[in-house]
Amino acid sequence: MSFGVRLKVWGDFACFTRPEMKSERVSYDVVTPSAARGILEAIYWKPGITWVIDRIHVLSPIRFTAIRRNELGGKIPYGNVRSAMKGGAPQPLFIEDDRQQRAALVLRDVAYGIEAHFELTGQDDNAAKHAEMFKRRARNGQCFNQPYLGCREFPAFFEWVDGPWPDSDLPAQDRDKDLGFMLHDIDFAHDMTPRFFRAQLAGGVIDVPRFDAAEVRT
């Protein structure tokens, strides 16, 4: 029995930041598997399951726009947070003191269809239970936290898809395209190593290899 999920997600803006263009952000052309996983996890996730992205349908034209934002330059050191938790003084960080203006090339008016399934991490768990819970939550629009398109400030809207995927607005000449190497996900077990795969649009759909597949490389 397969417990695949089909979810349409869309939003006004999206930024799936390329690792090499992280300072002055430039987005990937389409959603990355790890960003798609994040959206699913925002709707439903338990330690008993892991989400695996199978396919990504690109439903709207790939359009970019440039924006500029003021952001923070630094981070609060880990040690300070720890001491604050132990009862020390809270650690303030004022943006006025550490401001960085950053430009970003972000996506506009995106819509994707995400096809995914989950795998159980434990032995004795009921897969049908998780599947039904996800389905119910997705239908009701419930989420643990607001799902987002790459960056927290770009909220994602979502809906469960029962029938066929809606028609894609992607122009015909863009439906078959090599998108180059794309981040698949981070290998958290091995020193947080990024793993990449060659993203190919075929008929407006990207087939995502499994995380442990041979074509996903570090």
Binding site: K22, S23, V26, L105
Partner: protein, 569 residues
Amino acid sequence: MILTSLAVYYDRLSQEPEPAVPLSGFSRQKIHFALHIDADGKLAEPPVFDLRQTEGKKTAPQELVVPEAVKRSVGVAANFLWDNTGYVLGADDKGKPERTAKTFEAFKARCHEIGDGLDDAGMAAVLSFLDAWNPADAPDLPGWEEMVKGCNLVFRLAGGGLGYVHERPAVRQAWLDHLAGASRERRGMCLVTGQDAPIARLHPSIKGVRDAQSSGAALVSYNQESFTSYGKEQSYNAPVGEPAVFAYTTALNHLLRKGSRQRVQIGDATTVFWTERASEVEGLLGFLFDPTADDGTEDAVRRFLEAVRDGKKPRDDPEELQSGFFILGLAPNAARLSVRFWHVDTVAGVCAAVGRHFADLAMDRAFDNEPEFPGLWQLLREIAAQGELKNVNPALAGALMRSILTDAPYPASLPRAVITRIRADQTVNYPRAAMLKAYLVRNRQKEVSVSLDPNCTDVGYRLGRLFAVLEKAQQEAIPGANTTIRDRYYGSASATPAAVFPQLMRLAQHHIEKAEYGGVSDRRIEEILETVQTFPKHLSLDEQGMFAIGYYHQRRENYKKTAKTKGED
């Protein structure tokens, strides 16, 4: 994809017969002399070749592609197979014999380190020359007085055929192997090429982006803590292999070099473009944005632009037309570069978009010396205060370029910018009328003709024509008037016709009575007003655009007629 496309472009450049870009591990250096040695390492005849070239009174050293220079400050570090006399011959004019002896030893050691065991006659000759050389003999070399002044030397093998020793294939390969092995960076998959390579910790800076630091700015950098993630440092945040880093920075620096025809400044974005395969279009597009008076390509450009405007293919080679066309706009931000614009299309796609732009823009010119294909800057100058480029709104400039290249609607602020300038100086000239037309045609799907259309019933157009006729009537009645109705009324006539036209019509009656051929104006006014029921209270921005176009067309027509009658007399 930006880095990948640049790296691919570098490969294309480096494979040309005479590459304009340095090869990885090599750099262009000023070299003055070449030592001529035979296979046994003895100086041959003549012992020294002077590589300097004389231009006028100056003698300039030749620029040769040699193994990359080491980073040198005060310490001793030798280059491979080329360096100054202190290193190569162990003699110089610096007056520090101990140091000079050290530098010579360093040079010898470096050549041995890389060249030992290499099966190459040139390399062997250099090594035996260095082993046998006595620095005290240096002053006996011909031209030593000049050579000693910090000149760089290379080696040339007698009868070796192939130019210099450092150019011999085996030597080159040994040098590259040495470089690859010397890299102490950790290895990993390069996200540009997908191959296993040493990961670069820092990326070289990019020079030539306007307003960026003159020493260069970085496209890939992590100069703030918040830019990093997962505890990674510097460029380990993005694993890019050293060869790819070299390739993309070299290609980008090549595109941004001084005098590049593939670089244009649009607003605050320094924009470069290149094609996947060598294509003439690559060089012609720079012309589209910033036509310079004369660089000998005018005819080719004109033919190209005429072809694309008429919807023809500028080339017959289908493969070239389908190859990729890349446009990258960069703007500085702090010590970094931000990508303002990134567009990938085919050569055919860009040609078609440019063609449609000029088709939308097509308008009869008032004078023959006006450009038939005005460049982006010529258009922007028309909508900048005082006609100065420094007053061009950078946001509008960027948006306009984007619409031209992607065949997207023109920026919504374009007509207001044009109309504001027209109202400020009461001048409706060819580029302004053309821009208004292009906007109305593309964004509003209006049909606007290239020259006067007597059948157009658009009220704005008609009123614009009427205004031109009224102006003509005044001109005929009072030639050389200091202030014409245009100076006084253009603004209000185009925005609020009902407020001024009745008065202008009354005024016109006096002008018509006074003028010699007033009847002509009278007939024209009648004909224009045929379809105008009332003067509208106000005109929208689009209608004001039509007003300006109508005014421009009718004025041109008036001018043409008078020229003809004069000619007949």
